[in-house]
Assembly symmetry: C2
Homo-oligomer: 189 residues x 2
Amino acid sequence: MDLASARNLPATAHVVLGLVSIRPTAGHDLAGFSERSIGNFFPIARSQIYSELERLCRLGLLSVTEVAQERRPTKRVYEVTEAGEADLRLWLEDGEVPAERNRNLFLVRVFFADRISGQRLAALLDGYEANARARRDMLAAVVEKLADRPGSAFRRATAMFGVRHAQATLDWVSDVRLVLRDMSVCGVE
Amino acid sequence: MDLASARNLPATAHVVLGLVSIRPTAGHDLAGFSERSIGNFFPIARSQIYSELERLCRLGLLSVTEVAQERRPTKRVYEVTEAGEADLRLWLEDGEVPAERNRNLFLVRVFFADRISGQRLAALLDGYEANARARRDMLAAVVEKLADRPGSAFRRATAMFGVRHAQATLDWVSDVRLVLRDMSVCGVE
DNA sequence: TTTGACATGTAAGCCGTTACATGATTTA
DNA sequence: TAAATCATGTAACGGCTTACATGTCAAA
């Protein structure tokens, strides 16, 4: 295996490696598991999962076994190798966590909101709020489900992060609605 | 101009178009302005600004004039055309705002935190907290600076969004610290 | 009979990042 | 004399998304 190439792998590869390390998985199953677990803060496209699995295999970080099934297509089940475990540990322990600069196209509309009709702006706010509320409730349910379960404190924490941020969005929407009300009272527009 | 191609432009192109529409600008100046204004929720690389400007020009949404300067290199100053104004209005009014699924590599570490040493985890939390605190304070200063200034309510709102979310992060870090304390009290690890 | 779940991929293409390249002028 | 600011780009590369392609089996 080429150590240098493994160290330059994109984050997605390491995340896939980490997911497989939880338990041996085939591509299709992993796509589902990824979506249900880290999907809320690190979505990965199915096609990319397949290609990452193949690359990790090529680099010797994963091994693959074909598993025949009755009444189902044959699966290609991947498993972490020793080299893979080592690489994962290294990435988790020593890898740097770059500060991410996330994009938010909704805020771009707010930035240009003086060019947007009041009607449209109200609709945008409503949609954004509904989205945040649904997200908050969904994640709050996850948090509740994981409460008091011993091994899931960290996964619960990631869901709680989403709850806190969705709530922040909801609070902010209220702020903005107040600002809009003040503006219309003052006769602007 | 080709309407179909304009409608398929990536968001970044429209954002650049919007920034130029605020006032005619050259690439270098626009990079600075972008960084200082929308940079906090829609960062654009300098090189990309140059290429988007060129494309928008090619599509007839911008026009360009070379402006000679004393003691400075000549600038290529871009300006929105009528077609550009129309396209921008269309994008702001009718364009869809896709729900963005942001990545957060820090949360990935939390997800895999049972494989991380307590020392490392504490360091990660400290770093994340410091980052959020700095961000919150920086944006709070922006909010304050824009207070009571008439035309800047919406830009102020975008900064307030950042404040709310940075604060949510700080609150969450406190949550996680409590969880960690409970875990160590119970003798886990 | 047709929809949906299960299962694995390929191909194309653009977006976006990073690094490179150049040169004048001001300031320390 | 060196570094920082002003100014404009090019080149390369990889990541990620979208769409395409194929086939079985169960259930409605």
